[in-house]
Every structure is written in structure tokens, then in C-alpha cells.
């Protein structure tokens, strides 16, 4: 009994030392080494899903002798598999899945692997909403798995659409549509199909962003004579203008619901700024080295702000939300949207003259394009 206990403690010590190592790395720069894993036994769609999900969360695939973790199993008919810590010689997971689709089973296994090794929030079974546009400029809002599979059109208007945003924890989105001949903000329930206009004022109504508790939206309206940030209740009532700058755009919320971060202009320079969600004094954020910042998105853990910088081309940048370090340019792209795990971003990047959706692991800069889709696809919004 005593011997067994000591052995268990020894194994746990090894296991925890790995976990600790990852925590320390996460605080460092955006150049972390991916966690090496060896994948065996998966041959079909399950292998494809596991590789995608793990790669965009900072894992790399190596031969077993170089791996820190071994993932073995099968995707013949259903997904089953084990996760082994090679150094500790311990099986951390042993799972058999049934029900749903094979893809879904593989996503679920990837979720458990990532949660076991990193303890971050799972993303394998999450959704994105995005804008898909044809050559005419008209398009539709789509919803798909985060890897682009299983895409379904939410709208069927054949109108210009823009900037979908999820209601946290609900099957509902806001988006901009020109379906009525004006850019209006719609609320659309995905379970009932019902939708309604929540902002249809004269001029511009766009860029809806939902507060973390789902009770409010921030948006850009020009009804007062210039495009500014306004906040209202989720049904469009209790409307209040909170900025008066001349060139405001792209509001997003801090995860505590206290702040709205947006793009603006100050002293002839494009800046990111934040303002209390109820209105107040604008605070300008430093984005030294990342000119012309727009499209901020605040990570769910509150630590990071991702945004697009225009320096000739568009680049995805990330900086600490507290301003403790300058931004880092990660990859070419636009419209970053954080995953629930606060480490993966959905974005769109140019491929020729159209846009494709991609998923980026911020801390290793590893990214993969989502499943191919026709048209130009942009403005992904990650469901949280």
C-alpha cells in the first residue's frame, strides 16, 4: 500500500511538472514551441479532425520517439482512443464514443485531450458565424462548425450583409443586412428562425457587439450626423450614444462588461480606445508599431486584445489588454475573433482577391484554413 502510494505521488509529480511548464510558457512571447504529440491508428475523417483541432490549439505531430504525449486509437466506424503521457508512462484518457457523427466524436476526443493536457476551455464542438459574399457584393450570413464544416445559410435575402455577432450562450445572432435597402441591425434566433430589426435608423446601423451577459449591444449608428458608438438593450430600446469622435468604428466588449473597445482617430492618428460601457472618458490605448488599428476583439479571459493593423497589408496583432507590452503582429489577416479558450482566433485572410476563413493559434502562430467554401468569406464570429 505504501509503495503504491509513493509511486502514485512520483507519477503525479512528473505530470504536474508538465502542466506547470505550459503555464509558464503561456505568459511568454508569442513564439512558444507546440506540444509534440504522436498520433497513431486514426486513418480517416477522425484523423483529419484530430489534427486540425490539435494543430490550431498549439500541438505538433511528431514520431513517437519525439513525442511528449501519445494519442492512439481508431476512427473505424466510431472514435475510440487513449492519451498517454510518455514520460510519466501513464494513460491519462481512455475513451470510446458513440452517437452523433464521426466528426463530432473526433472533436469531442480532441476536446478531452486538450482539456486534459492544458485545462483550457474546449473549442472542438463550437460554431462560427460569418459573412459569405459573391462577386456582386451581395451575400448571406452562414453558421458552421469552427473548422468550416457543416455550413448552413442563416439568411436568404440576396442582400449585402455584415458583421455577425453571437449572443453569448444562446442560439441567436445579430448581424447587419441591407435587405430593406438600408444597412440595418437584425436580431435572429437560430432556433425559431424569427428575426427582427433592432436598429433601423436613417443612415448607418452596423457592427453590433453583444455584451458578455447578453443584455446589451454596442453598435455603430450615424443617426446623429456621424458614425459613433451607441449602446442599447438587446431589443434595441434604451438607446444611448457613448462616443462623439469623428471616425469611430468596430466596438467590442471587455469580458467583464465594463468597457467598450473601439477604433477611432485622435490627433490625426488612428487609435484603439476604450470607454466605460455606460459612457464616460475615452482612454486611448498604445499600439506602437501596429499602425492603423481597427477591429479589436477582447479575449474571454480578459488578458488580450486582438486587432487588425494596416501596414500596407493587413496583419493580425495581439497585445496585452493592460498595455503592459506592445502589440505583436502574428499573421496576415483581418477580423480576428477569439475562441472561448482565449488562445485561438478565427480570422479571414486574402487568397488572391477573395477572403478565406482561417483559425490561428496565437501562442505558436500555427494556423489552418477552414473547409473550402465558394465566394469570399469574412468577418467570422466565434460562438462563446
Amino acid at each position: 500500500m505504501k509503495k503504491k502510494l509513493l509511486l502514485a505521488i512520483g507519477l503525479l509529480a512528473l505530470n504536474f511538472s508538465h502542466a506547470q511548464e505550459i503555464d509558464i510558457q503561456r505568459e511568454g512571447a508569442f513564439a512558444q514551441k507546440p506540444v509534440p504529440v504522436a498520433l497513431s491508428g486514426f486513418t480517416g475523417e477522425g484523423a483529419e479532425v484530430l489534427k486540425f483541432d490539435l494543430y490550431v490549439q498549439g500541438f505538433s505531430f511528431v514520431p513517437p520517439e519525439l513525442a511528449q504525449y501519445l494519442i492512439a486509437g481508431s476512427d473505424a466506424g466510431a472514435v475510440s482512443g487513449t492519451l498517454t503521457d510518455k514520460f510519466a508512462k501513464r494513460t491519462l484518457l481512455s475513451k470510446v464514443y458513440n452517437g452523433a457523427s464521426l466528426r463530432r466524436q473526433a472533436h469531442a476526443f480532441a476536446d478531452e485531450i486538450v482539456q486534459t493536457i492544458r485545462n483550457t476551455k474546449p473549442i472542438g464542438q463550437t460554431k462560427i458565424a460569418y459573412k459569405s459574399q459573391g462577386a456582386s457584393g451581395a451575400g448571406e450570413i452562414f453558421v458552421a462548425d469552427f473548422d468550416g464544416h457543416g455550413a448552413q445559410a442563416v439568411t436568404t435575402d440576396g442582400a449585402i450583409v455584415a458583421k455577425p455577432a453571437w449572443v453569448p450562450g444562446q442560439r441567436a445572432i445579430f448581424y447587419t443586412s441591407y435587405a430593406r435597402g438600408n444597412p440595418d441591425i437584425f436580431y435572429h434566433s437560430l432556433s425559431s428562425g424569427q428575426r427582427r430589426v433592432v436598429a433601423g435608423y436613417s443612415g448607418l446601423n452596423t457592427s453590433a457587439a453583444v455584451s458578455p451577459d447578453g443584455s446589451k449591444i454596442a453598435m455603430v449608428l450615424s443617426k446623429a450626423g456621424s458614425p459613433n458608438i451607441w449602446v442599447s438593450s438587446a431589443d434595441g430600446s434604451n438607446l444611448k450614444r457613448i462616443t462623439t469622435g469623428l471616425e469611430d468604428s468596430s466596438p467590442c466588449w471587455s469580458p467583464d462588461g465594463e468597457w467598450i473597445c473601439f477604433a477611432t482617430k485622435h490627433n490625426e492618428r488612428r487609435r484603439l480606445a476604450k470607454i466605460p460601457a455606460g459612457g464616460g472618458t475615452v482612454q486611448y490605448l498604445s499600439t506602437v508599431g501596429a499602425p492603423n488599428p481597427t477591429e479589436p476583439d477582447w479575449s474571454p479571459d480578459g488578458k488580450w486584445i486582438a486587432f487588425t493593423s494596416q501596414m500596407g497589408d493587413f496583419n493580425i496583432c495581439v497585445m496585452p489588454a493592460d498595455g503592459s507590452a506592445p502589440p505583436t503582429a502574428l499573421v496576415g489577416g483581418q477580423n480576428p475573433s477569439w475562441a472561448p479558450n482565449s488562445r485561438t482566433l478565427a480570422l479571414n485572410r486574402a487568397m488572391g482577391y477573395r477572403q478565406v476563413l482561417s483559425v490561428l493559434d496565437v501562442f505558436t502562430k500555427q494556423y489552418k484554413d477552414c473547409a473550402r467554401a465558394t465566394g469570399s468569406n469574412s468577418q467570422p464570429a466565434w460562438a462563446k
Partner: protein, 206 residues
């Protein structure tokens, strides 16, 4: 060394936990049993994530376009006054004005075009005006949507100075979604940074 300092207290804490809960139970918490079954969602793809199921198309019962504008619909009187007016894009097509890169300042050189637009509106008191603001492709999407609106509003302000009532003018921004020239060079971009003026005639019977 630093790592050891962090790990040792953890191990001691765990040892204490294991000693009180019994070693077998403690270990099994960390290592799930082989062959444990986990069911992921139902066959409809539902489950605990969002949204698993199918998407219902817009409800055709809630109005002709499937759009319910009643609850929370912030339709202003301003927009209603333009409802059903007939668009005449040809009438003022010659007076499109153009902008410098990333600017919504109406250039001095565009004054004659604006004067022509003002004169057309002065000539018929029942006509109104739609100003469509547009951008080139160099700018992020929502930034450009706001920039296009600023361009349209700048022309509206300039027309007001020429005596046109702003109440007769509606603005719309297409951002970079409606280029006049689909090219990707400076010649195309220069054409795309523009305000188009669309004359609006009253609908028949008004």
C-alpha cells in the same frame, strides 16, 4: 529549480489528499478507467454546444420579407419619408464626386458637381436625394462602412450649405461592397472612392 519549488508543495498537498481519501480512489480520479463510454450529443447533433441543430429559415408569416420590425424596430420618421420613392440613378450620374485615399473631405474641385446636384433638387421640390458613399478596397470592412457613411454625410453637409434641406437627403454607405470598377490598382481605387447621387422621385399618386 524554480519548477521544483512549485511542484514540491503540490506533491505534498496531493500526498495529504491521497492519505485521507485512500490511494486507490485518489489515483482513479486522475486516470479514467479504460473503456469508459462517453456519449457525445444525440443523433440530431444537438448537445451542450451552440447551435447543434438545423437552422429554420426566416419566418414567412411575419411580413412579406420575413422581417418583423415591430418590437424594438427603431424605424425613424426620416427613413419612412423616403419609402417607395422611385430611384433615378441616371439623372445625376454625371455628378459623382471622388475622394482622396482614406478621406471624407469634399475636395474643392467637386464644387461644380455639388452645385449641379443642388440645382436639380431646387428645380423640383417633390424630388429627394439618396447619397451612396463608397470606398476603395484598402481598408477593413467595417472601417470602410463607416468611412463610406462619412463621405455621404460630408456631401450632405456641403449640399446643405448650398441651400438644400438635409431633410430631403438620405445617406447610405456600401463600404467596399459596391465598387464602380472591380480592378485592383490605383486607377480603379480612385474611381471607387466616391459618392453617387441618386435622384428620388415621388411614387405615383403622391
Amino acid at each position: 529549480m524554480k519548477m521544483n519549488r512549485l511542484v514540491v508543495p503540490l506533491v505534498l498537498a496531493l500526498a495529504a489528499t491521497l492519505a485521507t481519501t485512500g490511494c486507490k480512489k485518489g489515483v482513479s480520479k486522475v486516470t479514467p478507467l479504460p473503456g469508459q463510454r462517453a456519449i457525445v450529443g444525440d443523433n440530431n447533433g444537438g448537445g451542450n454546444t451552440l447551435p447543434g441543430g438545423g437552422i429554420v429559415p426566416p419566418d414567412s408569416n411575419s411580413g412579406g420579407s420575413g422581417i418583423n420590425t415591430k418590437p424594438g424596430g427603431g424605424e425613424t420618421a426620416g427613413l419612412n419619408e423616403f419609402d417607395g420613392m422611385i430611384k433615378d440613378p441616371a439623372a445625376l450620374a454625371a455628378y459623382t464626386i471622388h475622394f482622396a485615399f482614406d478621406s471624407s473631405v469634399v475636395k474643392k474641385g467637386e464644387h461644380s458637381n455639388l452645385a449641379a446636384v443642388a440645382s436639380a433638387l431646387a428645380g423640383n421640390a417633390t424630388d429627394k436625394l439618396l447619397i451612396e458613399g463608397n470606398c476603395d478596397e484598402r481598408g477593413t470592412e467595417e472601417y470602410n462602412r463607416a468611412l463610406g457613411e462619412r463621405r455621404a454625410l460630408a456631401a450632405r453637409e456641403a449640399l446643405a450649405k448650398l441651400g438644400v434641406s438635409p431633410d430631403r437627403i438620405r445617406t447610405i454607405s456600401y463600404g467596399k461592397d459596391k465598387p464602380a470598377d472591380p480592378g485592383h490598382d490605383e486607377a480603379a481605387w480612385a474611381k471607387n472612392r466616391r459618392d453617387d447621387f441618386i435622384l428620388l422621385h415621388p411614387k405615383p399618386g403622391m
